[in-house]
């Protein structure tokens, strides 16, 4: 697709999001942004030293709690998009060259206060935005973001950090073209997460918050708090909510339909290669 056409589509997508197929159960969208805000590629302020005018790619965010199926869907979407001829870049939490490993260490040592940790995650986010996401978008790629500022804000809000403060921190983040929210019950997520590692980590269960000595209840309570935060911002940020309890092929089909619409891919038929077939259940 020629760049100018894509630009138009990008502008249109930001201004008025078409809704998902009714099967996904998406509530009608209410756009709360002013026109001026919607026209900007950034949330509230431009990123110093970066010009958003030559962005031709598409930023697609997949949000959802641990165990909602995000990573599985991203692996499948990457294969599908590449088979359709799109260059794909991925991003995720703690993957920056600058501080990714430092955060891992802080988490392992459990010797960090909530505000410092929030700011380290913020540094990690902007390093990836500036060195990975924006360059990829300028080269016309599709960026699949495995979580974005919404998870980072929600985690800090439930730990008592002021919401306006956090919105201010992330004011210079790039506004996604599409934001999907894989919504699952914490009880379902618990089982899925446990099966992955035969354990639940300290942070996934929000154990730093002293919610319960019981690991299961700590996990459920913590993830419910995060879920409520997502519910609170879903409309404002045009979240496209998908039922994360549905099967992998079902969720993937809905994702492909909506992304296909965005990118102008007519046929969204797809079956995973043998390398990814184990995810298809």
């Amino acid at each position: 697709m020629p760049d100018h056409e894509k630009d138009k589509e990008r502008g249109a997508a930001v201004a008025a999001e078409p809704s998902l197929p009714a099967a996904a159960g998406t509530p009608p969208k209410v756009t709360l942004q002013t026109e001026e805000e919607a026209a900007s590629a950034f949330f509230a302020a431009p990123l110093p030293g970066f010009d958003s005018s030559d962005i031709t790619g598409t930023l697609i965010v997949i949000e959802g709690m641990d165990g909602s199926g995000r990573s599985t869907q991203i692996s499948l979407l990457q294969e599908w998009l590449e088979s359709e001829g799109f260059a794909v870049q991925t991003s995720g939490l703690r993957r920056s060259n600058l501080v990714g490993r430092d955060i891992d260490e802080l988490l392992a040592k459990n010797a960090v206060t909530r505000l410092t940790l929030a700011l380290m995650y913020c540094t990690d986010f902007f390093d990836q935005l500036e060195h990975r996401i924006i360059p990829a978008l300028k080269s016309g790629a599709v960026v699949l973001a495995d979580r974005y500022i919404f998870t980072l804000i929600a985690r800090s809000v439930v730990r008592g950090i002021n919401r306006d403060y956090l919105s201010g921190l992330y004011a210079m983040a790039l506004r996604p073209n599409l934001t999907f929210w894989l919504n699952v019950r914490p009880e379902t997520a618990f089982g899925r997460e446990f099966r992955k590692a035969q354990a639940i980590s300290y942070w996934e269960a929000g154990r730093d918050m002293s919610l319960s000595h019981d690991l299961y209840w700590s996990f459920v309570r913590y993830q419910t708090m995060i879920k409520r935060e997502f519910e609170a911002v879903a409309k404002r940020h045009n979240f496209l909510e998908l039922d994360g309890e549905a099967s992998v092929p079902t969720v993937n089909k809905l994702l492909r339909q909506r992304i296909g619409e965005q990118l102008g891919i007519r046929s969204t038929k797809y079956a995973p290669s043998s390398a990814l077939a184990h995810l298809w259940r």
């Binding site: 110093p48 501080v99 960090v112 505000l115 410092t116 921190l169």
Partner: protein
Amino acid sequence: MESQETLTKQGRPEAPKSTLPQPGRPVPNRAYPGALIVVEGTDGSGKSTQLYLLKRWLEIGGYRLHFTEWNSSPLVKSATRRGKQRRLLTPTTFSLLHAADFADRCERQIMPLLQGDYLVLADRYIYTAFARDGARGCPQKWLRNLYRFAPVPDITFYFRAPLDVAVQRILSGRPKLKYYEAGMDLGLSYDRPESFRLFQSRILDGYDKMVESDNFVVLDGTLPVNKLQKQMRDIVASKIDLKRFAPHAAEAE
């Protein structure tokens, strides 16, 4: 150490729980019994020398104090070093890393000590970020929000030295300016000393703009060291009830 003992002494006024600072919220004025003294100024303005002498004066007098420096938390040291070596830092990530460093010191040292009735001396504070990151292009509004959790100092000394004096002091004492120190990331000039000069001039403008809004006590950085120190001690003694931080204050009360 004397100061360690006094910290645990019984009968100190305790800040009511409701006034404890919340991350991301401005610290209510005087929500703690301690006092915070800050020095600011461009590189080469003489501020660190002066704060050292103030610290010695207070230490020798036996006052309870804690000294903290900008960019000194071990927590983010490796990240800062890596970022500088590989030149990964942009205005935004440079600013955020320093904020993370400050947050760590603020949450683990500065705030607890202010609540524990200490005199806290800081070599550079949030105004360094406002001036320096502002010179790199970060919006002031964003920076002010970023550091909203910082307690407001009781005294902020601003050591003002003319650009030429400050630049000359640094250039004569240092064999080679570092990349970020010289503001080379801004692309102002390929010549490091020239880039440093241009960068420092922007920072100086940034400081000057805050003199009134942030109640800076402006001191002339070109005065002889001992005269300047005398001024500084007089101001500290007049603005802060130093007796509170004296060795046997608890018994005397």
